[in-house]
């Protein structure tokens, strides 16, 4: 996986290749039944409430922790070119999809490119400004600490 950070422009780029044709990978990113199986990093689980994958539609889902705690998020789809790319705006929200104002949004561009049965996925995440990145830092800390504590649990 390639992971590069452009701090100057508050941008993060992730690239990863998958051993599957683009149609499969595209489905995995755009169909909620499949997204729920992998979108949340262990030990979290993603759980879709509603999915409307079309321009102007949105995906509303919760990240559910092992203790049952829920973090709600929604991805609003801005543009879709099937099997090629889509753009979305990512926001934290409540369980009804109302954005929680305190946390900043990020813009995503996800591109898919198949070569000889392998699919390269490029994800570019644009934060509005570095200060937004900071609010995400706080969120990240929270999850990181939880994960770390659970790793400790496993040792005992």
């Amino acid at each position: 996986m390639n992971f590069s950070v452009d701090k100057e422009n508050s941008k993060i780029k992730v690239e990863r290749e998958f051993a599957a044709p683009v149609a499969k990978v595209w489905s995995a990113f755009t169909e909620s039944e499949i997204l729920d199986q992998w979108w949340a990093p262990e030990p979290w689980k993603a759980r879709t409430k509603t999915m409307d994958f079309r321009e102007g539609g949105y995906w509303l889902y919760a990240m559910v922790g092992p203790d049952g705690s829920e973090h709600w998020a929604r991805a609003d789809y801005r543009s879709i070119t099937p099997l090629k790319n889509y753009t979305a705006t990512d926001n934290f929200c409540d369980s009804n999809g109302n954005p929680t104002g305190t946390i900043a949004s990020a813009k995503w561009v996800n591109s898919f490119n198949e070569t000889e049965g392998m699919t390269l996925v490029t994800i570019e995440i644009q934060f509005e400004k570095l200060a937004d990145l900071e609010t995400h830092i706080e969120m990240g800390f929270k999850e990181g600490i939880t994960a770390a504590l659970e790793n400790l649990d496993a040792l005992f």
């Binding site: 051993a19 489905s27 992998w38 949340a40 990093p41 830092i137």
Partner: protein, 90 residues
């Protein structure tokens, strides 16, 4: 980089970077907003210091964010394998 070694005023920075005072001020404003820089007022001048603690937090978060994606994608590898085998069974 310069501010990492000494506290500097915006004018001093602009001289170093062959750029306008306004451009430097804009950069400083953003960096100060995220607390990567801290300011000290000495008389009429404001000196800016680099805040290494904050930089560590940013790097820490970025490494977690990266790990997040690695975990996620490893799961997706497995999901794609399962999708393929489902298809073969049909």
């Amino acid at each position: 980089m310069l501010i990492a070694t000494h506290a500097m005023t915006p004018n001093a920075l602009a001289e170093h970077f062959d750029t306008t005072r306004q451009a430097v001020s804009k950069h400083i404003k953003v960096l100060t907003e995220c607390q990567l820089l801290t300011q000290d007022k000495v008389g009429r001048e404001i000196y800016y210091h680099f805040n290494p603690l904050k930089m560590k937090e940013v790097d820490h978060w970025l490494s977690q964010f990266k790990k997040h994606w690695e975990d996620r994608f490893n799961q997706l590898d497995q999901v794609l394998i399962n999708l393929n085998s489902d298809k073969n069974e049909k």
